[in-house]
């Protein structure tokens, strides 16, 4: 059963539509919405995710598709057939592209197409019950291969960004530290050199001085 529906622009994560009375029977709606927003942000950062994916989170599962730089996302129970969920998103996508396809780029404010939520409500109701004839027949259709769609864990997905950040941080720290090390080493080298040759130089100097003095006065 569909719990949440959100549509956002993939390039900058700007939310375009959200199903309105979503999350009525979900406990921590806010928590999941936050997750969705973080996910959008991740996508917007351009980490090349597959255009279709399912992400597990707690008792629920996110499904999303990215088409034409718009991300359609829904949150369902884990038990809800994956095929139906993607079928639902596909329906939304078709209608959304038909109605607002040419305005997506120019949308300037968040939830610019909030009017679309009436369609979401309507469509959602059709997919509510998995046992209706219509949905069963859809399940039996082999429209496209949902099995190939990757399933990952939300921690993983959201973590990817974090880990990458960590790695890059670490590497940058490493480079800066190695540079410091090189500088230090050079410094040490020079000091060692000085230590080694300084007495000789002093002795030579004294000798030359003596020679010079003797030549001069004698």
């Amino acid at each position: 059963m569909v719990k949440l529906t959100m549509i956002a622009r993939a390039i900058d994560g700007l939310p375009l539509v959200e199903g309105l009375d979503d999350g009525r029977d979900v406990q921590d709606t806010e928590f999941y919405k936050q997750q969705v927003k973080a996910l959008f942000k991740n996508l917007a950062r351009g980490q090349n995710e597959p255009s279709r994916m399912s992400i597990e989170t707690g008792p629920y599962i996110f499904h999303y598709i990215i088409e034409e730089r718009v991300c359609y996302l829904t949150m369902c129970d884990r038990a809800y057939p994956k095929k139906l969920a993607f079928q639902y998103l596909e329906d939304l996508k078709n209608e959304f592209e038909r109605v607002y396809g040419n305005q997506i780029e120019t949308a300037a404010r968040p939830y610019a197409f909030i009017k679309f939520d009436t369609f979401i409500q309507k469509t959602k109701k059709m997919y509510q019950d998995t046992t209706t004839q219509r949905n069963i027949s859809k399940l039996n259709d082999e429209l496209y291969e949902v099995h190939q769609i990757m399933t990952r864990n939300v921690q993983e997905v959201l973590g990817v960004g974090e880990k990458l950040d960590q790695v890059s941080q670490m590497s940058s720290r490493l480079t800066s530290e190695s540079r410091m090390y090189a500088d230090r080493a050079k410094d040490l080298n020079r000091q060692a050199l000085i230590k080694k040759w300084a007495p000789v130089a002093v002795v030579l100097g004294v000798v030359f001085l003596l020679l010079y003095v003797r030549n001069r006065f004698w």
Binding site: L20, D21, T118, K122
Partner: protein
């Protein structure tokens, strides 16, 4: 007004008058009116020049002919030595009449010379005017003199020449004007007041006068110039005025001088404000002139009280113009009004201002076409101050070549984001100023980015909770309501997103499934009142456009569904909970139609009644408080889930509006009360008000915050809302008919900034689903002087705040105490003012008050007589009292003032006239005549609606027909001796019957059509409420008393004072322990 008028005329002047006029005529006028930033110049050059120009001015128009002006040479030569003096001072007195602070001062400064040496100074004084270089020398001293020695100087100089001059126009004010130092000012102050009171006609067309002055001056300037050189003129010019002035003085002087001040005053006053920043420096001077006005209550206290001379707001609410002109970039006063635009600079000063200090905000006030609030969309976040979160506004200053901006409220230096960056030119203006409405306009709307949303913008949602018990059906309420809602379905805001739902209830609760696929709505009845649940997860709240046919079917069948319902119970509380369960997901607007006292389940109310014994005891206020905490709790829950509640109450019996109204009070809603609702009578009223409620533009899930500069703080808020944190008002729904008031207090002991800024920010979701922030910004000067505070006071805002405070006081103490508190505040304020100008005033029995507050006593009286505060037990039904109190807590200033001092207009003469005209009209033989008369008739109509009468029985002529309009109802009063023709035409043949059963409707005759036209015109001008028309015949008690006589606030009714008595009472109290 002055600003616009003179300007165009002014310009032609300048080029024409090169040598002479440059100092004399052009500078003074140009600089003031064009409000250029020459503060310094203004104080130096213009002074002298004004001085010089004023004589011309006054002489020109006053004497009425250019003749004396035109041939100045011959007559003046003879006059020269002696008269110039009388002329000089005179001129001086007139200049002040203009009320221009600087000029008056300078004139005072100049005046001193004459008396000491009568012969010499005139010439020198006069020469200084025309001579451009001279003025500075001549002028610099005057201001100084006036600064230091004003009090000392003035009296000696003035009396001889002036006093008798002054006395001519208004003997009564003579004693006051001369007395002391500020006296000139005082004298001048008197003029306008006087003009306003007794020469209404004169004061009403001030714009004309400056115009004429200018024109004449214009004519004059060139002529003079062509005649001679500056120096020569120096000799001539002065002479002209003296002669003319002399003439004026002795002859018909009185009227012109009076008219002059009133005419010129605005212009000059503006001038002072146009040069806003330095105001602080000039305040000390300004105060004398403008704020003091002697409204005379002549003679010994009650005996000679002249009723006609009392000030009356017959022009309705006049907003203080000076404020708006002072800071042009301020938001319009319809959005924000301060009780005084002069913010006191110290706590001690604030404590001497006994009236409430604060602001009245109407964030969504309706704007006339063409003045819509501009919408701004920042692509990358809204520009706000980092520390105090102030929105960018016209008063922020860009520095560091445009890379930083300084917040005007907390003066923190913020970075300008790179995409908002623009170069700053030499004067500190951004080069892209024209494309940035937020930097020019005081009111803008920002499109809010995603950070301003906790959830996607909600759709407009209307939920109806309808009482269907027997009384609702019998009174016809159900039918009218169903019809009205059905007719409004097309006009609900939000187009395709709007959601709608219904619950009806009597002793059980009925839900309706309105799923779009159903042909008919399904009704579900729940009788378990203790544990309410929602029988269906969806489809109780449906999308209107999808389920339109089902909703229509429901509304069509609703009246018939319950027509045989004999149930008298009302399970209001449980039904309310049910509605909450259905709505809590989205929020929205809940409209409650309640007919009886809630009798079942939670929130059950007792018939605690309007017990006469409780009045006058300490428990009196408890009957005005909600009885059950259930209501307050529910209201808190509603607000939390963004639900606004509007209560419509219809009962003829006690329904405990005090409790029901709590729901509206804390959710930003409104209470509509129709006592004893009868469909046949109140149908139109309910129809209009309900459809306005449903169709007006509404802002959803809003929060509002008022920010203000350092040193001041808003301490308390008054109106219908819930306070979410200390300064955040939660407003589930706001519209143009709601205003909120806030009280201000000083935090620091001394304000050092010259200006205090206020910013109102309303974050809301529009019906179209956009999240927006409406921001109003205003600046107000900080003043160091009480007189200035009085001068900048705004009676409307003061009364609005005062009424809210008084109403809140009735909830914690007796009515009597609330009334006394109002009276006490007015008395204290007037006493303080009197002490300010104690000296000139002590001589005679007169009351003084500032010009800006001249209506304060009257409105105060009206407030004491208003429904929530009037009398005691028997005067007003408890429910009506409570309903009126809830209504007044939300009213915008203009509507409140109209309610307090309603319009009373006589119409019979007009009706007769037009019907006569009409008979002419019908004469074919006189067709040529028609074309001549038609325009006239339209003119009379215009005139008719504007001519308001004082609200006293004496205004009512037994032969007349009057319309009384307080914004909520009309009363049409038929005089005893009114021509029966008119009555017959208006109410039909049976005009002798009981008027309570007759309603005014359009009949097929000219008189009736005309009066309906007038009424509709009134209604159109004030659409917030529907004014139901009550017909009242003279002497038809108790109807007449109930509808009209108690509303005539100037009369003595019951135990309350009449206007004259009230004034003398105030006067006596002001005198006491002064």
């Amino acid at each position: 007004m002055g600003t616009e008028n003179p300007n165009p005329r002014n310009y032609p002047l300048r080029p024409a008058a090169t040598p002479f006029a440059s100092p004399q005529s052009s500078t003074p006028f140009a600089s003031p009116q064009s409000s250029t930033p020459f503060a310094s110049q203004q104080s130096s050059t213009p002074f002298a020049s004004q001085q010089s120009s004023t004589p011309f001015l006054s002489s020109g128009p006053v004497v009425g002919s250019e003749a004396p002006v035109f041939r100045p040479g011959p007559p003046s030569a003879s006059n020269f030595p002696a008269p110039p003096f009388s002329g000089g001072p005179l001129v001086g007195t007139e200049a002040p009449a203009f009320r221009l602070p600087p000029s008056s001062r300078s004139s005072e400064g100049v005046r001193p010379p004459p008396p000491p040496s009568s012969g010499g100074p005139p010439t020198s004084g006069f020469q200084s005017f025309p001579n451009p270089p001279m003025p500075s020398a001549g002028q610099v001293p005057p201001p100084q003199i006036s600064h230091t020695g004003r009090p000392a100087f003035a009296p000696p100089t003035r009396p001889p020449p002036d006093q008798h001059f002054f006395s001519a126009p208004r003997p009564s004010s003579q004693p006051t004007s001369p007395p002391t130092g500020t006296s000139y000012a005082a004298g001048r102050g008197i003029y306008p007041g006087y003009a306003n009171m007794q020469l209404n006609s004169v004061s009403q067309d001030p714009p004309m006068q400056p115009a004429s002055f200018q024109l004449q001056q214009g004519g004059y300037g060139p002529r003079l110039q062509s005649a001679s050189f500056p120096l020569q003129q120096g000799g001539y010019a002065p002479r002209a005025p003296p002669t003319s002035l002399l003439a004026q003085q002795r002859g018909y002087a009185p009227i012109p001088p009076v008219s002059t001040p009133s005419g010129i005053y605005p212009g000059n006053q503006f001038q002072q404000h146009g040069i806003a920043p330095p105001v602080a420096a000039q305040q000390g001077l300004a105060e004398d002139f403008s704020s003091l006005s002697l409204g005379s209550i002549p003679g010994s206290f009650d005996a000679g009280l002249d009723n006609t001379a009392l000030p009356r707001p017959l022009d309705g609410d006049v907003e203080p113009k000076c404020f708006a002109d002072m800071y042009e970039m301020n938001c319009k006063s319809r959005f924000l009004r301060l009780t005084t635009s002069g913010i006191p600079n110290s706590q001690s000063l604030a404590s001497r201002w006994h009236l409430p200090m604060g602001a009245v905000v109407c964030p969504l006030a309706e704007t006339p076409p063409g003045e819509e609030v501009p919408i701004v969309n920042f692509a990358t976040g809204i520009i706000r101050c980092r520390r105090c979160r102030t929105y960018v506004n016209p008063y922020v200053a860009f520095t560091d070549n445009g890379r930083k901006w300084r917040c005007n409220i907390c003066s923190l230096l913020n970075d300008v984001p790179s995409d908002y960056f623009a170069q700053v030119d030499a004067s500190g203006r951004r080069v892209d100023l024209d494309q940035r409405p937020e930097l020019i306009k005081g009111s803008v709307e920002f499109i809010a980015p995603a950070e301003y949303m906790v959830r996607p913008p909600m759709p407009p949602l209307y939920f109806f909770l309808i009482d269907v018990s027997i009384s609702a059906v019998k009174s016809g309420m159900l039918e009218v309501m169903a019809q009205t809602i059905r007719s409004c379905l097309d006009n609900l805001p939000g187009s395709t997103r709007t959601q709608i739902g219904f619950i009806t209830y009597d002793s059980t609760i009925h839900f309706y499934n309105m799923k779009s696929s159903l042909p008919q709505p399904q009704m579900m009845v729940i009788s378990d009142l203790d544990d309410v649940f929602v029988p269906l997860p969806d489809d109780l709240l449906v999308n209107l456009s999808e389920s339109r046919s089902v909703v229509e079917a429901f509304l069509d069948s609703l009246p018939s569904m319950f027509q045989d319902n004999m149930n008298v119970e009302s399970a209001f509380g449980p039904a309310l909970k049910a509605a909450f369960l259905v709505m809590s997901q989205l929020g929205g607007k809940l409209l409650i139609f309640q007919n009886t006292l809630p009798s079942l389940g939670a929130g059950r109310l007792k018939l605690r009644g309007d017990d006469i014994r409780i009045y006058g005891t300490d428990k009196e206020h408890t009957i005005r408080l909600p009885e059950d905490s259930f209501y307050k709790q529910m209201a808190a829950d509603f607000t939390k889930y963004q639900i606004a509640v509007n209560v419509y109450a219809f009962s003829d019996k006690y329904t405990d509006i005090a409790s029901l109204g709590t729901l509206a009070k804390y959710t930003g809603g409104q209470v509509y009360y129709y006592p004893n609702f009868q469909a046949s009578i109140h149908k139109d009223k309910l129809k209009h008000e309900l459809s306005r409620d449903l169709t007006r533009e509404t802002a959803w899930e809003a929060v509002m915050r008022i920010r203000c500069g350092k040193g001041v703080r808003f301490t308390s808020y008054h109106g219908n809302f819930m306070l979410r944190s200390t300064d955040l008002l939660a407003l589930p729904a706001v519209d143009c008919d709601k205003a909120y008031a806030a009280q201000l207090s000083l935090e620091e002991t001394l304000l050092t900034t010259p200006t205090v800024y206020f910013q109102v920010a309303l974050l809301y979701t529009s019906s179209s689903g956009e999240r927006r922030i409406r921001v109003h910004t205003a600046a107000a000067p900080v003043v160091a002087d009480l007189g200035e505070m009085y001068r900048l006071a705004d009676t409307g805002a003061i009364i609005s705040l005062l009424s809210r405070l008084a109403i809140e006081k009735t909830l914690s103490s007796k009515l009597e105490e609330a009334r006394n508190a109002i009276q006490l505040r007015i008395v204290k304020a007037l006493r303080e003012y009197r002490n300010l100008y104690a000296v000139q005033h002590r001589l005679s029995g007169r009351m003084i008050y500032p010009e800006s507050l001249k209506f304060l006593p009257l409105y105060g009286l009206a407030l004491c007589k208003s429904l929530p505060l009037r009398g005691g037990y028997s005067d007003v039904q408890l429910d009506e009292r409570s309903a009126a109190a809830y209504t007044m807590m939300a009213l915008p200033v203009k509507s409140l003032l109209k309610l307090l001092y309603p319009n009373l207009v006589r119409v019979d003469e007009y009706l007769v006239k037009v019907s006569l005209l009409r008979s002419c009209f019908l004469c074919w033989s006189m067709i040529w005549y028609v074309s001549y008369l038609l325009p006239m008739s339209s003119q009379t109509e215009e005139f008719d609606t504007k001519k308001r009468l004082p609200l006293t029985v004496e205004s009512l002529d037994t032969r007349g027909l009057y319309i009384f309009d307080d914004g909520f109802r009309f009363v049409v009063w038929f005089g005893k001796a009114l021509s029966p023709d008119i009555t017959k035409n208006l109410v039909g043949e049976d005009f002798a019957t009981d008027f309570s059963k007759v309603s005014l409707s359009q009949r097929d005759n000219y008189v009736s059509r005309k009066i309906m036209e007038i009424l509709n015109q009134y209604r159109k001008s004030d659409p917030s409420y529907f004014q139901l028309c009550h017909l009242v015949r003279q002497g038809d008690q108790p109807r007449e008393g109930f509808f009209l006589l108690t509303s005539l606030v100037e009369d003595q009714t019951g135990g309350a004072n009449g206007y004259a008595d009230w004034m003398s009472l105030l006067y006596r109290q002001v005198q006491q322990n002064a």
